[in-house]
């Protein structure tokens, strides 16, 4: 289940309508400004209209970003930048009402670029240093033009602010604002360098050119006084505007294409919650899309275990503080239900994460219960496998102990009886009795031999599955075809529990076929494919057998099916009447 495209939600429709209106408003303002500038005597219209064009680019880029990333504030910031360009462009109008504020605000577009750099990628200023630097850059921008115009001769369009012609004061204040601007730009560079250092390699590759370009554009504005003798004022102006106008394009490209995932409205999560089906595998996906972190993970709190588990029920630990990842807790009715683990370098503010988590608290609670069930299930499966392994170990132990103990004792006892029988001092009756005793011991030994073999066949202990199954097939009273080519040699033994389970499956399958199938021929195939041991026991008999049949054979198979399932395998029985019976088992056996 994925989050539906943002366009389907009413909340987005109203946003899109507003954005269209905003775009129309900016276009109308820009058009009116061009009409005003056309009447201006201060230069050719193409030169004077450059800020309007830059504003248009900012507005277009901002609206695209806003449209595509509703919860990201970069779009709004870019639109604000567009407005600052339109205001700055009014400097060259003839009406003082318009040009006076424009003079004061003429350097603000450059300040907006610094603001954009510091607020990227979310559009929010998250550290105190970034906030301070942004405030400082706006203050410097506002104060930049003002003293020079106040202490200047009242000529040209800037002349409206002139109070007194004092070049000395003008130079002093220019030096002061230059120093302040340098300090602010240096601080910004330090903050951005710190961010680059903390970013991972992929992100750094995108951020480095973006930061470099933005800083260069701002620096060229700050260095206007030195550039004029080189380029001449109109060219310098055009270059500056072009560089600054390229900034929003670069930002939007990086935002949309540079691996900064789409972030959606938290409200969209609510819509997803109400429309989606009851079983939602996409909880983490939905959150990841909303918060723009593809690595986001939802974990669930198990009070009984006092720990977190993932959706599959496997235990997980929350990331340590200061690591690249962070966790935000989710509570429902005051109880802890889970946590969202996210990339702290991507999302450096926990508030939206926590807010999104709260929206989904109920869904998380539902998934938590599922995860709890799965954790219990996994534990049950492990314990079943342990029981099978333990019973297997015990069987092997019993077989070994009998082999090394009782079987040896019976050989020695038979030897003693034999010596007694051959004793030259013994009477004939005694010799005969001793001979009978030896025969009895031999018979007991033979019985013990078949018992030990049933507990755990010698072939399985000595050589492994293929040898043991071969011995089994050798002893079948009807023809038995054996195919173990797909099994590796003796040098690659399978896990003990897998080997003995497979052996007992074959033994039970063959015994059932002999007993019930009325077959002429039996087949056994063993193969290893991709971490699975495949076992097939088939016959050409009457078919119609069933796993849960009440017959004694069926109950034996039921027990084996339990054993197979406990080891994570599957057992199926294909037995149409008249088509023979094939017992198929797949057992995971490692790679």
């Amino acid at each position: 289940m994925t989050l539906p495209a943002s366009g389907r939600f009413p909340v987005s429709w109203s946003l899109h309508g507003a954005l269209v209106l905003l775009g129309v408003a900016v276009a109308v303002l820009g058009g009116m400004e061009i009409v005003l500038l056309a009447a201006s005597p201060f230069g050719p219209l193409w030169l004077l209209a450059e800020p309007v064009a830059a504003g248009g680019i900012y507005a277009a880029a901002g609206l695209v970003a806003w449209w595509r990333r509703p919860s990201n504030r970069m779009g709004a910031l870019l639109v604000a930048g567009a407005v600052s360009w339109l205001v700055a462009g009014l400097v060259n109008t003839t009406s003082p009402v318009l040009s006076v504020p424009a003079v004061i605000l003429s350097v603000v577009p450059a300040a907006v670029v610094v603001h954009l750099l510091l607020a990227f990628p979310s559009g929010r200023l998250r550290s105190r240093a970034a906030r301070a630097a942004t405030v400082a850059v706006y203050v410097v921008a506002l104060l930049d033009g003002l003293p020079q115009h106040v202490f200047a001769a009242a000529t040209g369009p800037d002349g409206v602010l002139a109070v007194t012609d004092r070049p000395d004061l003008a130079a002093l204040s220019a030096d002061a604002t230059h120093a302040a601007a340098s300090a602010v730009l240096a601080a910004t560079a330090i903050i951005l360098a710190g961010r680059l250092r903390r970013a991972d390699r992929a992100r750094r590759r995108v951020l480095l050119p973006l930061y470099g370009y933005g800083m260069l554009a701002v620096l060229l504005v700050a260095l206007s006084a030195w550039l004029d003798p080189l380029l001449g004022a109109p060219t310098r102006f055009t270059v500056q505007v072009a560089l600054l106008a390229g900034v929003p394009v670069a930002f939007v490209l990086v935002l949309l294409r540079g691996g900064f995932a789409r972030t959606g409205e938290i409200a969209e999560l609510g819509a997803w919650l109400s429309t989606a089906a009851v079983t939602r595998p996409g909880l983490a996906d939905a959150l990841a899309r909303t918060l723009g972190d593809p690595s986001l993970q939802v974990v669930f709190w198990l009070p009984g275990r006092h720990g977190y588990v993932d959706a599959a029920g496997a235990p997980v630990a929350l990331p340590a503080a200061g690591a690249g990842r962070a966790a935000a807790e989710i509570t429902s009715a005051g109880r802890r239900v889970g946590a969202i683990v996210y990339d702290a370098t991507l999302i450096d503010d926990a508030a939206p994460v926590r807010a999104a988590g709260q929206v989904l608290a109920l869904a998380v609670e539902a998934e938590r219960l599922t995860a709890q069930l799965r954790a219990g299930e996994a534990e049950l499966r492990r314990s079943r496998a342990r029981i099978v392994q333990a019973s297997d170990r015990e069987r092997r132990l019993v077989a070994r102990n009998l082999h090394d103990g009782l079987q040896v004792r019976l050989v020695l006892l038979a030897l003693d009886a034999q010596q007694l029988a051959k004793d030259p001092d013994a009477t004939t009756a005694m010799s005969e009795a001793a001979e009978a005793l030896r025969a009895g011991i031999d018979a007991a030994a033979a019985e013990l031999r078949s018992f030990v073999h049933a507990v755990m066949p010698a072939g399985l202990i000595e050589r492994g599955l293929a040898a043991a199954v071969e011995d089994l097939a050798d002893r079948m009273p009807i023809r038995t075809r054996l195919d173990t080519d797909g099994l590796c040699g003796a040098d690659r033994r399978l896990p003990a529990a897998v080997e003995s389970t497979a052996y007992f499956v074959v033994a039970e399958g063959l015994a059932n076929a002999l007993k019930h199938a009325r077959a002429d021929e039996l087949r056994v195939r063993l193969a290893r494919t991709g971490g699975q041991l495949v076992i097939e026991v088939g016959d050409d008999g009457i078919g119609g057998a069933c796993l849960d049949a009440g017959s004694d054979g069926g109950s034996g198979l039921r027990g084996l099916a339990d054993r197979v399932e406990a080891l994570g395998g599957r057992l199926r029985c294909d037995s149409r009447p008249g088509a023979g019976t094939t017992l198929g088992v797949e057992l995971p056996c490692g790679s």
Partner: protein
């Protein structure tokens, strides 16, 4: 005759040593694991090795592997392998390498000291001894998979089993209380019925019989189905 014993159970090792010494053999060394046994064989060059299949450290088939190695490295040393349980595969492996001078017996056979000692003598003299149980298993399997054995009489099948156990004609005659001549007649009939190449050499005879009995079920079934077709031509 000089013998090296390989057996990890101390009581049985002692019992076996005692039985063999008492029967007039010389036990030059006894070992509790396969590596030690092979070392003794390299140093003492015995006439015969009697070994258990399961030996430390892994207690799987070390004894059998050591026996095969000894037959390969020191062809003058015969080998008798003992086991609590016999299977066809081990008999085939023991006989496939260098089949003269090998024996494969159930451990329980030790108790019949006279027969056991005679078997050891036979193996040391370059003969072959297979446990009746493993021969019976192979015979039953061959009979199940092909119909050539069905054409034999019970008595001929009995002779075939004794041949497979590695017995000489004289020994077979004694066992079945018939004349040597009768045995020769049975043997030649068996050779005809199974299509075996005639041979006077006892050892080759054992091999031919065992090879016949060890054919895979697939070989046997193609032959028998061919026979079936011959019987009912369309």
């Amino acid at each position: 005759m000089r013998i090296v014993i390989g057996e990890d159970e101390a009581l049985l090792r002692q019992g076996l040593t005692h039985v063999l010494e008492h029967a007039g053999f010389t036990v030059v060394a006894s070992a509790a694991d396969a590596a030690e046994m092979v070392r003794h064989v390299a140093e003492r060059r015995p006439d015969l090795v009697v070994t258990d299949i399961r030996m430390p450290p892994s207690r799987t088939d070390e004894g059998l592997r050591a026996a095969l190695e000894i037959r390969r490295e020191w062809p003058g040393t015969a080998v008798v392998v003992l086991s609590q349980y016999v299977q066809r595969r081990y008999a085939v492996e023991l006989l496939s390498a260098n089949s003269s001078g090998v024996g494969y017996l159930l451990k329980q056979r030790i108790a019949d000291v006279a027969t056991f000692c005679a078997d050891l003598e036979r193996v040391a003299a370059g003969g072959t001894v297979l446990d009746p149980e493993v021969v019976a298993l192979m015979l039953a399997r061959a009979r199940r998979d092909g119909d050539a054995l069905e054409r034999l009489t019970d008595r001929q099948r009995q002779v075939l089993a004794l041949m497979a156990e590695g017995r000489t004609n004289a020994s077979i005659a004694r066992q079945m209380s018939i004349t040597d001549k009768a045995v020769v007649q049975h043997v030649s009939h068996i050779y005809d019925a199974l299509g075996l190449p005639p041979s006077d050499d006892d050892h080759r005879r054992v091999l031919a019989v065992l090879r016949y009995l060890s054919r895979s079920a697939a070989d046997a079934s193609t032959r028998s189905s061919r026979a079936e077709k011959d019987k009912h031509p369309r």
